[in-house]
Every structure is written in C-alpha cells, then in structure tokens.
Amino acid sequence: MHRLLEDFAQENALRDVNPGVKILLGLASILLCISSPGPVTPLFIAVSLSAATVGLARIPPRFYARLLLVPASFAVMSIAVILFLTGGGAVLVSIPLPIFTLTVTTGGANLAFLLVARVLGGMCSLFFISLTTPMTDIFTIMQRLRFPTVFIDLAMLIYRFIFVVIDEAGQIYRSQRMRLGYGTFSESIRSFGMLAGALFLRTWESGEHLVRAMDARCYDGRFGLPDEAPPVSPTWALGVVLYLGLVAGISWTTATITLC
C-alpha cells in the first residue's frame, strides 16, 4: 500500500504556516489556472508551486515526480479526443484511416496544449494544498468557515477510520499473497472479492465498536473543537498576496500567447 499524500503533509516543513494562507494560495492558483485563456499562466503556476512544494515544504523530489504521473492516463485519453475533435485554423497533421481521417488543426493543438497546461497547473496547486496542509488543519478551517457540523463530524470520523481500514486491508492483502493469492487473472478476481468481503466484515465490526466507544465517552451529538491554528505570519500573507498579484499580471499580459 502506497503512502498517502496526507502522511507527507503531517511532516512537511511548512506544517507550521497558517493553513488558511496555504489553502488560499492553492485555491486561488487553481482558479487562476482554469480561468487563464493562455497556457503561460498555468505553466508558471505549475513550475512555481512545484518549486515551493519541493523546496520549501521539503517533499522528496522523486516522490513528487511520480505524483505528476497520476493524472497522465486521464489526461492523455481525453486530450487526444479534444486534439482531433476541435477544429479551427490551419491543418497541421492529417492521418488517413480506413473509414475517416484524423486531422489536427492549430485550433485543436492550441486547446489541447492549454488543457495540458491547466491540468498541470491545477494538479500542482492541488498537490501544494495536500502536501503542505494536513487534513486535520483543513478541518479547523472548515469549522471556522461554518461548514455544516454534521458534514465535518462525518468527514472527521471517516478520516480517522480510513487509516484503520487501510491498515487492515494491507494486512489481509499480504496474508493472501503469502498463501499464493493473486496468481492468475481469475484467481486475482476471486482473491480480491475475498479481500473486499473480509474487509467489509471487519469494517462493520469496527463500526459497532465505535458506537460503544462514543457512548462510553458520553457522546451527546457534539464532536471536536477546532484546533488552534498557527498565527498568520505577515511575511507569508504578504508573499501570497504578491504572488497572486504577479500571477494575475502574467495572466493578463500573456492572454494571447498560444502554442501555434
């Protein structure tokens, strides 16, 4: 079982920066990415926030590089469709096939490249949030923003139990591997079905334990208090404002730049 991004967030070097500031930076960058008409802004965000994540938050570069591959399969498939479907402008490439001909025009190439840039910039902004801000801090922010209590309570309980269930899933998986499970394709399906079934049973039991544990601790419909968030440091606040201003400026000046 691979490690979750959350595990890195708990130990990253920006742990003590106010989570509100980090989330603001990440979300604003995402919005700037998807509203940018040209590819320069998203690419700038991708590079600068990656540098911040690896350089300031001290996330291992090799791990970060592998993370960038996660959206690749989705991006390749859907961007391929857009590349060939979108018209406008001169024809760049033409691939004749038996039934029809695939053509790439400048319009299609520009839109595809813009989308690649946006996905890259958006994902890097998302990585910045998830690698520097532990979920526990995000709960604090949600509480301060008055998200519905029942939603936060449920999210907190799910968060806690994700780790309990992951641990058990990993152990069940290892024990199946030890007994030669997942050998052939059909065996894999059968083994996976057993894993899911056993896990379901174990999870349901944890649920019953949880009910008793909450009762034993005088549960009265109330849940956690917000943790105390680290104070907003003026340097960070100023830095984020300047950065976002810079990006907005870039966005405005590079709006017309396209791939071709």
Binding site: D7, Q10, P134, M135, T136, F139, M156, L157, Y159, R160, F163, V164, D167, S206, H209, L210, R212, A213, M214, D215, A216, R217, C218, Y219, D220, G221, R222, F223, G224, L225, D227
Partner: protein, 403 residues
C-alpha cells in the same frame, strides 16, 4: 470501607447468544486496586459493560455510590463520566483526527467551556506523559502511545472509577510496565482502579483484591495470595498459577521452606528462603545496609541529579512513574531499574549497595512507606533519604516532596 460499585446477582444474556453472566455479585471498595481475572469468554468484558450502564442486567442490580443505577439517558451520561472504561484495543476507542480533539471529545460532550476543556486536556495528557502530542494524528502513534491517548480521553472526564479491559494486551514488556505504573500513579490519587486480565502474574503483583471469574460466574474473591494459592480453582478457571507461587508450593511440599504467607515478589521470595536458612527472626547482617536516596524530579534539575550521583556512593539508579522516566530521558540519566524499582533498590540495599530512586511528587510518600513497611516486617532497618532535603515550610522556593 465504602463500596463504590456493587453488583448483586446480575444475570445477562446477549440477544441470540449464550448467557454471559450467570448470577454475579461483587463489591468494589473505593480507592482499591482490583483485578478481575479469568480466561477469555469468562464474562469479564460483559461485567465491565454493566459498570457503566452500557448494558442492563436481565436480573439483579447494579449500584454506584450506594444507589442503584438509573437507566435514563441523563443518569447514564453522568455514570459514564464517573466510571471511565478503557477498551482493550485503543484503535476502536480513539475517535477524533488529532490527539487534542480526541482527548477533548468527552469534555466537549459534557458541555464544558473552552478553557475548562483546554485545562482538562492538558492535565490528562500530562498525566499520561503525552504533553506536546496535541496535534499528532493517532495513526502515527505507537501501540503504547495510542493506549495512553485512550486513557487520557477517559481521564479528561475526571472519573472516580477507572476500568481497564486487558490494559497490557499486545504491548511489549516495557510499554506494559509503563502502563501498569501509570495505573499505580492514578491509584495513588485516590481513584478506584479495576482491570480485567488473564495474566495471573500481572494480577498477582499488582492487585489488592482479586476476583476470579469463569463461565459467567465468580469462582473466588480475596487477596491475590489467597485466590492464587488454590490450584484447583485456578485450574477450573483454565489459568496457570504464578510461577513464583508455583515454585513456593513446590518448595513447601519438599519441606525446604515453611508454609506461611506466600511471597509476591522476587524480594519477598529471597527473604523467605534466607529466613528459612538463617533462622526465622533476624537476617544475618552481612554488612551495613545501603541507603536508598529518593529524589523528587518535580523539584530539581538534571545537573542537581548528576551532582548527586557523583557525590554520593550511588551504585544504581531507577525511575518510577511517567514523569520521572521522561525526566531521565530528557536529562540523559542512565537508568538501571525501570520497573519494580522499590523492590530492586531494597534488594541492593540489603547487600550493602546504595541506590537512587527518581520519582515524581505524589509517589515519594508511597516509596517511603513501602521501605518502612519492609524494614518493620524484615526487622532490618533500611535508610531512605529524600534528596535534596525538603525545606522547612514557609521558606522560599519549591518544596520538594510536598508538591
């Protein structure tokens, strides 16, 4: 003594299940250390759920503080605040995403104000030795640490009775020792502590009072020596006698030692054999006894302790209790003893070597008392000194030993 928890003739059957309790009557005295001993499936956990009203007996009564439990939502909440139950598996007891939020869970639900909650959490975490862990997510803690968080979550509600289901289950010896020591510390503050265990060795050393259960019934109750001396009873409960008691009975059967009060510790056992060999009244004074120095870590700093160790003829150093161990770790003081510290130091003292016990405020008197008791019983005067000496009342500064 006052009975704080009393169960009379309780019977309980799980829905669609076997009868788990078949007429159980017990009485727990306030401030006592009680061990409920029996094999898995004897009904210990079911009995625990009667204590805080998680289940209601089919027949019989459960009383807390002299009055029968009322099974209304309000009364039950109050009962559960006062009778805290620590489960065997901390993973199912820890609910919230951070240590702070988890420990605060009880106080929040009790409706305390924010600063009262903060104080309760701080006190509870410092009592279990986890100050500074507030923001950690529980899944990054070790097994022993998780156990402590679970205990802190209960302590934060300031219960009168603490109930522990298999407190040392799946912990390694060092963590088990720390948890049992924590239980001792909690007991010195006047709380009633009840544990369930199938570890006879543990119950034999730790408990004042033992209740032996099997198949939903109480087989015996009394002092550990009484209950565990009856091998037939232990066999009926599918348990093994403590090894040290086993050895004692074997030696009695062969006429090597006389049959008296069985020893509970290595110290008592050694004495028992030595007395038999060298006459029954006084131990032959081989040499002058060593001194036991007792140092309150709440009142000194690391340098003072290091000075002490070099200046006095101290051969062995031990630490008792969570705070003292933390202190030794922090100050890089090497420890020779980390469990059974008082007994070990007495043993060293008897062969003429001096030792130092690092302890926190509350345990100092307990240590003196234990050494004095031993001196009286064995007839050999041992010297225990609190260092640095407590200042006379009224003088400036902190008063070691009386914090």
């Amino acid at each position: 003594m006052e009975g704080i928890l009393e169960i009379q003739n309780a019977r309980y059957r799980y829905p669609h299940g076997p009868e788990a309790l078949r007429g159980v009557s017990i009485r727990i005295v306030q401030g006592s250390k009680v061990a409920l001993v029996g094999p898995n499936g004897a009904g210990k956990s079911t009995l625990f759920q009667l204590f805080n009203g998680m289940i209601r007996p089919d027949a019989g009564t459960v009383s807390f503080g002299g009055a029968p439990i009322e099974y209304t939502a309000r009364a039950l909440r109050d009962l559960r605040r006062r009778v805290g139950l620590v489960f065997q598996n901390p993973d199912v007891q820890i609910i919230a995403p951070t240590v702070y939020q988890d420990v605060a869970f009880g106080p929040v639900n009790l409706g305390l104000a924010r600063d009262a909650i903060d104080r309760a959490v701080r006190d509870a975490l410092s009592a279990v030795g986890l100050a500074g862990y507030e923001k950690r997510p529980p899944h990054h803690l070790s097994g022993g640490e998780k156990k402590r968080v679970a205990i802190a979550g209960i302590l934060a509600m300031e219960p009168d009775v603490l109930v522990f289901d298999e407190p040392t289950s799946s912990l390694d010896p060092a963590s088990s020792e720390e948890i049992m020591e924590l239980l001792d510390e909690l007991a010195t503050d006047g709380r009633t502590i009840i544990i369930s265990t199938h570890d006879v060795e543990l119950a034999y050393r730790w408990a004042d009072h033992v209740i032996l259960m099997e198949q939903g019934m109480v087989l015996a109750r009394g002092s550990p020596e009484e209950v565990f001396a009856d091998h037939a009873l232990l066999r009926a409960a599918r348990l093994k006698p403590p090894r040290i008691l086993d050895l004692y009975h074997e030696l009695v059967a062969r006429g090597i030692v006389e049959d008296r009060t069985p020893p509970r510790s290595v110290l008592a056992f050694t004495d028992c054999i030595e007395q038999h060999l060298h006459g029954s009244s006084l131990r032959t004074a081989r040499e002058a006894a060593g001194t036991v120095y007792i140092c309150n870590v709440d009142a000194v700093d690391g340098d003072a302790v290091r000075r002490l160790i070099t200046e006095r003829p101290i051969g062995h150093t031990g630490a008792m209790g969570t705070r003292a161990k933390e202190f030794a770790n922090r100050e890089l003081i090497l420890l020779d003893f980390t469990y059974g510290v008082i007994d070990k130091c007495i043993l060293k003292s008897l062969i003429g070597e001096s030792s130092l016990i690092l302890s926190s405020g509350g345990m100092i008197d307990h240590t003196h008392r234990r050494i004095a008791e031993y001196s009286a019983e064995s007839g050999r005067a041992l010297i225990a000194v609190t260092v640095p000496e407590p200042m006379p009342p009224g003088s400036a500064g902190r008063l070691p030993g009386y914090l």
